[in-house]
Amino acid sequence: DLPRQLPFRDVREEEVPVGSRTDVTSRYETVYRSTTAREAAALGAAAPQEADAALHALQDASPGSLTVYVIPETSSLLPQGINVYVGKHRSALVRAGQGLAALRARLRQLTQVMSFTASSIAAALSDRVPDGQLGLDARRHLKSSLGYEITFSLLNPDPKSHDVDWDIEDAVNRYVQPILDKLSFVANFSVDSQILYYAVLGVTPRFDRESSSFLLSAHSLPHVINPVEARLGSSAASLYPVLNFLLYVPERSHSPLYIQDKDGAPVPTNAFHSPRWGGIMIYNVEAPASPQASLPLHVDVDMVRVMEVFLAQLRLLFGISREELPPEFLVESPGNEGLADWELDRLLWAHTVENIATVSTTLTSLAQLLDQISNIVIKDDVASEVYQAVASVQNAMAELAEGRLRSAFQASKEAVTSSERAFFDPSLLHLLYFPDDQKFAIYIPLFLPMAVPILLSLAKIFREARQRKKEPAKMD
């Protein structure tokens, strides 16, 4: 019941209006073909995870593309009630559905999940969208930057009672480094860690008699961060945005400490995060078995539990969040890698579009600045950076139109670097502003005395010339 003979391709274009002078055209190119023998063998596996792993070895999907395998409606590969399975790499398994229309609808939904959507593009271009049209999500994500600094801090306000030990280096190598390696194409990352003693939260938690624990309500959370932030510090040399992840071990007198959400229930993760800043997790230490245990108690932090939360917060801060999924979708968790390939592609799409928009804004404002102030001198290196930025951004747009995601992103990164260097060059500072009345006050005393004899002589010259014209009539 296919419209044409396999293989065929289908192109669909969609306009995404973003702002008054910006709109984005997105093009979806769909290629339909039949499966090869090896792929069919891989699809005969027992569980979707194995099928996904086997298929990943067979295909070589380029970044930005997705491969969808349509399996019969009655196939037992996917569990009951699940119609779509999204894998860790760039492939998905979809049940055929009742007819072509149902399949197309599922494919549409799948593209919304796995690839960019109108809202994700609009979020990337958030400063061009008129205010009020964006949801809260748009303001949460970190801006595209050339690098990020990640700092893990352990806060121990009560070292007399708790002797806290965390093996952060091992945890970073095992759990954080894989996701950073995957993101290394996006930006440079540097990770550091510190332990702060006697650092207290800004709010006093309430004691709840029913659960005999201390509670921090949701509306007091915003005030927690500030007193701590002054102590956190950051690297003096780098200018990259900093992401702080704090692990707080409450004092013995305030243990156990739970965070309450708006409905009054304790939060299972016991953690909260702040957009563009980082996250805080509260780690409760169990009370010692015997009350006569000697203080300080030795605490070995369970880094897996901590990293599960921190990495989830890291993904949220970057905008790799899961939107609401329809119930028939099953999305594979990326596991220790931290990031699925298609999630990385989504991030790259958003960052590429954002970079291109930033470059065009920067270069436009630079041109406007030079129009307004005519006596700024442009040095040769600034000029060459501008040319390079323009060439790179045109290259990025061309690559993006072709769908070559990695090279488009690379070009957009180069364009951003060049344009920022040109715009923020220290030599472009224009200081001298001469208001018109000051111009009169300075130049008139200088030129008026000099001009008086010149003007008088000019008048004399004109008078003589006119007289000589009348003279020849008489001289003859």
Partner: protein, 380 residues
Amino acid sequence: AAAALLLGCCGAALASGVQDQAEQFFRSGHTNNWAVLVCTSRFWFNYRHVANTLSVYRSVKRLGIPDSHIVLMLADDMACNPRNPKPATVFSHKNMELNVYGDDVEVDYRSYEVTVENFLRVLTGRIPPSTPRSKRLLSDDRSNILIYMTGHGGNGFLKFQDSEEITNVELADAFEQMWQKRRYNELLFIIDTCQGASMYERFYSPNIMALASSQVGEDSLSHQPDLGIGVHLMDRYTFYVLEFLEEIHPASQTNMNDLFQVCPKSLCVSTPGHRTDLFQRDPQNVLITDFFGSVRKVEITTETISLDRDLAGFESKLPKDELATEPLKYADQLPVAQIIHQKPKQKDWHPPGGFILGLWALIIMVFFKTYGIKHMKHIF
């Protein structure tokens, strides 16, 4: 039944009111706060300008903005001035009630570093690459910035260090460049000088709210002298602003309209002014802590990812580029050979411009007309 219905309606309205106030939190759209506090006067008798700036610094720190997000520029050192009878203190109230200098003040630009050029460099971001992070304004498009300036000023200008001035047009252009590069979400500009309102007349970039201590033609007066220290300690406007800010705590809901009422003419002798036409939100909805404090928006983390505990840490898949490098010596850190043997860059010769040519032609023509053409043959 009617009464019950009415109560039900009231209850619903109240609940939505509380919800609205909670949502108002998010309406400002900013995620971080910065402050640029500038004192532009030097000399001991301008003690009050340093005290002004330090009291705003103290309030801003108390309400939560960390030092890493404050750029403090003080043109002179009053605390360690040899004429200060109480060294390491700067008082704002007479009888030495309140020491605004504290023991954790971090001055980023001090003494002669406070110039118009450095101030404009901080605002526009065109800073030489060797500047440390603490001296930069690293704001982004979601930053609310508070800019406070004090010193001696006049109609359309503000004096820096008794030797140069910044005009209101330059300031407006600097803000416009900040807007073009989206270096702020909203900006609050407060100025406490004579004829302060003239400084905000020329702003034309969106999302700026401005307050000044006096109108054009009026002088801002100082508050009270301290007989022990021998100078005036604060200016009136900032004194009453400080008293107002001492009542604010990080969770307070006081809005900008209250700040506009601070220091009426009866107390201040000058008429404070404000400008809100460029600001998109209604000042009624703008909290004081939107600019003076740093209240972060938080979200509860509801999801986690699942990690496999037993997976052994694998070697990073990326090739580690270990180049065999020789250990570097101290003398090698600067490319001295390149610097010393650099040839001076050829300055291109440009022919004289039209104005100069015209002037010289005029002078030569007048000369020869006056003294006669016959002298020409002696020259050629």
